[in-house]
């Protein structure tokens, strides 16, 4: 994998920030976009745009084709068994909300339990809490280990006859921990419990095969895998999706509407009310094709090398404490420093052109479990280099000079 060649595909990496070459270490928040994604979307808007479905003219039919091809592209990318198991949403957040409100409302009742872990992103906590206002079910929270790991044993202990769903992150956005999801799914299925995976952080870092995982639901966002914002995916096993009531009502999701009664189309249309983000699907398709052309396996190997290098290089700087050192991790380096608040670290790095994130990373319970208000977080994408890690290390030494 030729990273220098890949970097040329990302126009933004040529720009400067605060007069310095941009060192972008915030891909876990959102990845930058390669030219094929940008061009596919402009080309679509310039030459191919029309609303999809029911248009009795060529442009609309070709736009519909692109939209449908996008679904097939996603299906292949995550190896789903059927095209109609792919629902387009705004992003992972909406996908999680969809399952909570549709599946949750149809399947949960008082006394039931949904099992989460303590390192979940707020997007896999709050939708369940909103549903709790309507249905008095309980959330069981699997504790986190000191190194940011989640152990299968602890998940097993949380499972009981009351458990109706396990909904956990595939990869932690705060600490980079890769959860033992395959084992979790196997154990849950042995007990007849379905599992949803929040794949927002995993999707860009490793090959995801929903059939091999045997996940019941899998969600991710387009913008974290080099595609546009505003488009995301809910994968659901066909039998589940077919059994679920609509999430939103509107056009494009009905069979027949009268004021007395309305019947709904089968999935995926049932869950895609209204005009969707068509250009988003076009961009996502281009993004998935782009990473496929490089090879997810190559990307995973490259990012693992970067992470190992960063652990060594950053972890040994005096005053730096890495937060999240689980044995299996992906592309995320969370840390705190003596005498320097994460926001001050961020500002010093910014003045050197280095973009990181600081704060609780929308995972307050995870931060609390570590006794922290927040961390500084550097995260890597396929375009990052060992030199980027060196720049970060130099920047952190400058932080230390100022604050220590």
């Amino acid at each position: 994998m030729d990273v220098l060649k890949i970097r040329k595909d990302f126009p933004i990496l040529e720009r400067k920030m605060r007069g310095q070459p941009l060192v972008y270490l915030d891909s876990a928040a959102s990845a930058q976009k390669p030219r094929p994604v940008i061009e596919a979307m402009s080309r679509f808007y310039e030459q191919g745009y029309a609303n999809i479905h029911r248009g009795v003219y060529e442009l609309s039919m070709s736009a519909t084709d692109l939209y449908d091809q996008g679904r097939v592209c996603v299906q292949r990318f995550i190896n789903a068994a059927h095209e109609d198991e792919i629902i387009f949403t705004h992003g992972a957040t909406e996908s999680l909300n969809l399952v909570a409100s549709s599946w949750g409302a149809a399947n949960l009742k008082e006394g039931d339990e949904v099992v989460l872990t303590q390192l979940e992103h707020h997007a896999n906590i709050v939708p369940w809490q909103l549903l709790q206002k309507k249905i008095p079910f309980k959330l069981r929270v699997v504790p986190i280990k000191k190194d940011g790991d989640i152990l299968l044993q602890d998940v097993l202990e949380a499972l009981s006859e009351k458990t109706k769903l396990v909904s956990v992150a595939h990869v932690s956005n705060a600490f980079g921990t890769i959860l033992p999801v395959k084992d979790i799914i196997k154990a849950a299925h042995d007990r007849g419990i379905p599992v949803m995976l929040d794949g927002a952080q995993a999707i860009a870092h490793e090959t995801v095969d929903v059939q091999a995982l045997d996940a019941d639901f899998y969600v991710f966002s387009g913008h974290k895998i080099y595609g546009p914002t505003g488009i995301g995916v809910l994968y659901g096993k066909r039998a589940w999706l077919q059994s679920m009531p609509p999430y939103q009502g509107g056009g494009d999701m009905i069979e027949n509407v009268t004021f007395e009664e309305t019947s709904f189309l089968p999935p995926p249309a049932r869950f895609e009310a209204g005009t969707p983000h068509i250009a988003g699907v076009v961009g996502l398709t281009a993004g998935l094709n782009y990473v496929t052309s490089i090879g997810m396996q190559n990307i995973a190997v490259h990012e693992d090398k970067l992470l190992a290098y960063a652990h060594e290089k950053i972890g040994t700087i005096q005053g730096v404490r890495l937060i999240g050192t689980a044995p299996r991790k992906a592309a995320i380096l969370s840390f705190v420093m003596e005498h320097a608040h994460p926001h001050d670290i961020g500002t010093v790095l910014e003045s050197r052109g280095i973009a990181i994130r600081a704060g609780h990373h929308c995972a307050q319970p995870a931060m609390e479990s570590m006794g922290l208000m927040g961390t500084a977080r550097a995260s890597f994408g396929l375009y990052n280099t060992f030199e980027d890690v060196d720049s970060l290390a130099e920047g952190l030494r400058a932080v230390r000079e100022i604050f220590a």
């Binding site: 605060r18 007069g19 310095q20 005498h339 320097a340 608040h341 994460p342 926001h343 001050d344 500002t347 010093v348 910014e350 003045s351 050197r352 600081a358 704060g359 609780h360 208000m373 927040g374 100022i402 604050f403």
Partner: protein, 163 residues
């Protein structure tokens, strides 16, 4: 030295770093006349501000407790120093003046002329955040909390993240 480095040194100058490391007036005031909470939920900075005035209505004691970045801690520390001896009205004017400085608007020269030079220097140091717009909220948190404390009718928890 590049412009960047100069901006950074202006922001994290010794005066600011000293106040953030060893904040002045950092204690809970048990019988405070007014108090309010400043909390920026996105970044997690949180402080409680306490103010007590004498019979003439001049602030005789101002203190705070909480946690946050160097900028928000230094700002609260310097602000509580500056408040002593000021009336509520003067304190409010000072807060408005400081906001102008942080947002890089031209401050009122008349007001500046009325202030003592040392106070001006302190505020100028804090106003280094004007080169870092993402951090203005950190510098403003204690001052916005002060406005809430002085106006008890208002909501007693304030934030500066969506302003």
């Amino acid at each position: 030295m590049s412009l960047n480095e100069q901006d950074l040194l202006d922001l994290y100058q010794d005066l600011i770093l000293d106040h953030s490391r060893y904040p002045h007036n950092f204690y809970e005031m048990e019988k405070a006349q007014c108090q309010a909470v400043g909390h920026n939920p996105l970044c997690g900075d949180r402080l409680v501000l306490y103010v007590t005035a004498d019979e003439q209505g001049r602030i005789k004691e101002a203190s705070f407790q909480g946690q946050g970045c160097a900028i928000s801690m230094a700002s609260a520390s310097m602000m509580t120093d500056l408040l002593k001896g000021k009336t509520a009205q003067e304190a409010e004017k000072l807060a408005a003046h400081f906001e102008q400085l942080c947002k890089n608007f031209k401050p009122d020269p008349q007001f500046e002329a009325m202030m003592n030079p040392e106070d001006n220097a302190r505020l100028d140091a804090l106003a280094g955040v004007k080169n870092y717009p993402a951090r203005v909220k950190c510098a403003m948190l204690s001052w916005r909390t002060l406005q809430a404390a002085l106006n008890p009718a208002q909501n007693q928890t304030v934030q500066t993240e969506n302003t």
